[in-house]
């Protein structure tokens, strides 16, 4: 296995749902409408890297997570763990996949069984994967999640823990199997601000100290700088911009990223932020054809936006899918002469 191969490669991943048809639709033999929840997403996850996927509700970020977990069957594209495609997994590799990819859910109040003690909660995954030395592993995972000393927590039920402690138990549960990839779905959005920062610090330290990478899914751009190296901004099933976190926050290129960042309130009464000029809300990704998906709400809309923009490098390490940043016709012509592989 080559050392510089990414841990996880997501390659043009698609997940379409078909809309339920009415009786009339069936009688008239209408084609079912497609919900293009995830529509051609590609990115790599390297060792010890945290990649953020940011977007508003309905952008497809949770569908992406479920598809990555293998809970939804993908409609197209490929996902590779250490270079091996999901499709080619043997039974053993499938099991191994469910050990090496773990998830931390948004709501610690909902994702822990209230009838089990912390020890039981952590032991279940170990039993499922038939791992040895369970007591030691449980203790170590609690230590890593900064639930110290572990003895104090082993016999507690989730109800007697605070929100922050519950989320630490979720983190310990993910760590106990020594995963290589953690998928975190809004892990701090249900917590009070005074505990948010400590969970973010914990996650960020774990990535640096343990051999683990993370995909961090969130709607909240104000906390991503404390954890993510790179951010993907998602809108209606597609990535519209990718950039290193600070560069994105300070100089967003895509009009949607700009609107998203500008709409975040600033905790300073002296700041003179302008309210958003955008109207309307994100539509459903149903039966949407060609073109930039943001065009109907975009303040910079042009005629060329009826054509789907290519996801191109605008600066070293930064990509965006927007006609403001390249000449579409020239690009199309060039592509015909020298067919290049877009990633």
């Amino acid at each position: 296995m080559s050392a510089d191969r990414p841990v996880l490669e997501i390659d043009n991943l698609q997940k379409y749902f078909t809309k339920k048809q009415s009786f009339l639709d069936t009688v008239l033999r209408r084609d079912p409408e497609l919900v293009q929840a995830v529509d051609g997403i590609s990115f790599d996850l390297d060792d010890n890297e945290v990649v953020g996927v940011i977007g508003e509700s309905g952008c497809g970020k949770t569908t992406l997570l479920m598809t990555l977990l293998g809970l939804y069957e993908k409609s197209g594209g490929d996902v590779r763990l250490h270079g091996k495609s999901y499709d080619e997994f043997t039974k053993t590799e499938q099991r191994e996949f469910y050990r090496s990819v773990q998830v931390i859910f948004q709501d610690p109040f909902d994702s822990l069984d209230p009838k089990k003690t912390v020890e039981q909660i952590l032991r279940i995954p170990l039993k499922v994967h038939d791992m040895d030395d369970q007591d030691r592993r449980i203790r170590e995972a609690l230590e890593m999640a900064e639930l110290r000393p572990p003895e104090r927590y082993l016999d507690q039920y989730p109800d007697s823990l605070s929100g922050g402690e519950k989320q630490r138990v979720s983190i310990a549960r993910a760590l106990v199997l020594e995963p290589e990839v953690i998928l975190a779905d809004e892990p701090v959005s249900m917590l009070d601000v005074s505990t948010q920062a400590s969970i973010l610090k914990l996650l960020s330290n774990l990535i640096q100290e343990q051999d683990v990478s993370m995909i961090y899914i969130s709607h909240d751009l104000s906390t991503v700088s404390y954890i993510c190296d790179t951010i993907n901004v998602m809108y209606l099933g597609r990535i519209v911009e990718r950039a290193p976190t600070l560069e994105l926050l300070q100089d967003p290129k895509h009009p949607y990223s700009q609107a998203l960042i500008n709409a975040i309130p600033v905790p300073n009464p002296h700041a003179d932020r302008q309210r958003t000029q955008l109207e309307g809300s994100t539509p459903d990704p149903i039966g949407i054809g060609e073109g930039c998906r943001f065009r109907d709400r975009c303040p910079e809309r042009m005629d060329v936006c009826e054509k789907t923009p290519a996801f191109l490098e605008v600066e070293p390490g930064r990509r965006t899918a927007c006609h403001l940043h390249y000449d579409h016709e020239a690009y199309e012509e060039r592509k015909e002469v020298v067919p290049s592989k877009e990633h």
Binding site: E56, S57, S162, G163, G164, D192, V193, S194, T195, Q196, A197, S198, L200, K201, H219, L221, S222, T223, S225, Y226, T245, L246, L249, Q250, A259, L260, I261, A263, I264, P265, V266, P267, N268, P269, H270, A271, R273, R275, T276, L278, E279, S281, T282
Partner: protein
């Protein structure tokens, strides 16, 4: 001098439980003037929503005002009967924008019918007048007036929140209480809603109490504010007072832990511990357990809200309010508790 629009004085609210009375709000005092936007900030469970409910006479069945007063234009309203609340306060004087708009609309009634019912209960408007007024308000909050005949489920999340705002404004109340009005919305939608709330203040003389966990919303949209911690008001004053010169440890540390997208490299603070549950009479500062600068005095009695630097509008409930700023500066510089960012 005429009485302020709303004056809350030494308000204590308790819930009776099997373990005895739980004190949700302890000796809270603040005032809201005409056309003032007032923000009430705190973490979950601090009692901010209990205050919202008390202000419209809608406490849960086991909740009651133990002591203190709520005065509307000088008239005490805390002991009003259900009928008095309905006839004299709700909708036409004080209206409420609840957190979850979806749950607060009747799913089986057209919006126009729900509005007419409110109008006919509280005013002598005719059906036509009531509908005209409702159309007008739909326009103000940025909805198409012809949609007033639709049912609640036909509006998206952001839109139904605007329908609720239109209803809250319907009878031209003097005071709107907005309890986490945008928490369920995405940021762009949230900003759209606040764009309309800004307009209201400019066009009408409406006052608002904005209840939220998000201190940035208050700093941006309100004139004055109060920070609450576990049932107690820690500090109150203008938004500039609390931003420029916070004097309660909790308001200092809360601001430190709040992320700012315009300053993404700033180190985030954390506050250890969790807010306590208060029972019966409170005789301590509820923040004492979590406070890095607590002294013996802090657990011996409840600190009163007292003026800071002689400014009667800027008040803090901390025995060490005159030295907290120096203590904070002193502890911050060498940063002994780690967090050197290495």
């Amino acid at each position: 001098m005429s009485a302020p629009l709303l004056e809350v004085e030494d308000l204590t609210i308790q819930y009776s439980t099997s373990e005895g009375p739980v004190t949700a709000v302890s000796n809270a005092s603040f005032t809201v003037d005409r056309s003032e936007y007032f923000g009430l900030v705190g973490e979950s469970g601090c009692g901010k929503s209990t205050i919202a409910k008390a202000l419209v006479g809608g406490l849960d069945d086991n909740g009651y005002v133990e002591s203190g007063t709520i005065s509307l234009r000088g008239t005490e309203i805390q002991d009003f009967s259900e009928r008095e609340w309905n006839e004299e306060v709700r909708w036409d004087d004080i209206s409420l924008i609840p957190q979850s708009s979806m749950n607060s609309l009747d799913p089986l009634g057209r919006m126009s019918d729900q509005a007419v019912e409110i109008a006919q209960t509280h005013t002598d408007m005719t059906r036509e007048e009531a509908l005209d007024r409702f159309r007008e308000l739909f326009e103000i909050v940025g909805l198409q007036p012809e949609r007033i005949d639709e049912y609640p489920h036909q509006f998206s999340g952001g839109m139904s929140q605007r329908v609720i705002i239109a209803l809250a404004l319907y009878l031209d109340p003097d005071l709107i209480i907005a309890d986490e009005p945008t928490t369920a919305l995405d940021v762009i939608m949230q900003d759209q809603v606040f764009r309309h709330l800004d307009q209201l203040r400019d066009e009408f003389d409406t006052s608002m109490i904005l209840i939220t966990h998000d201190i940035s919303l208050v700093f941006e949209s309100c004139d004055s504010m109060a920070v609450m911690h576990a049932g107690q008001i820690a500090e109150t004053g203008s938004v500039f007072d609390l931003y420029d010169e916070p004097r309660h440890p909790y308001s200092i540390l809360l601001q430190e832990s709040f992320p700012d997208v315009s300053d993404p490299e700033r180190e985030l603070g954390t506050i250890d511990g969790t807010p306590p549950q208060l029972f019966g009479d409170v005789s301590e500062c509820s923040f004492a357990d979590r406070c890095p600068w607590a002294v013996e005095e802090c657990t011996a009695s409840e600190p009163p809200l007292e003026p800071i630097d002689g400014n009667p509008d800027h008040r803090g409930a901390c025995f060490r309010r005159d030295e907290v700023h120096e203590l904070y500066e002193r502890d911050r510089t060498p940063s002994p508790a780690g967090g050197d960012g290495a």
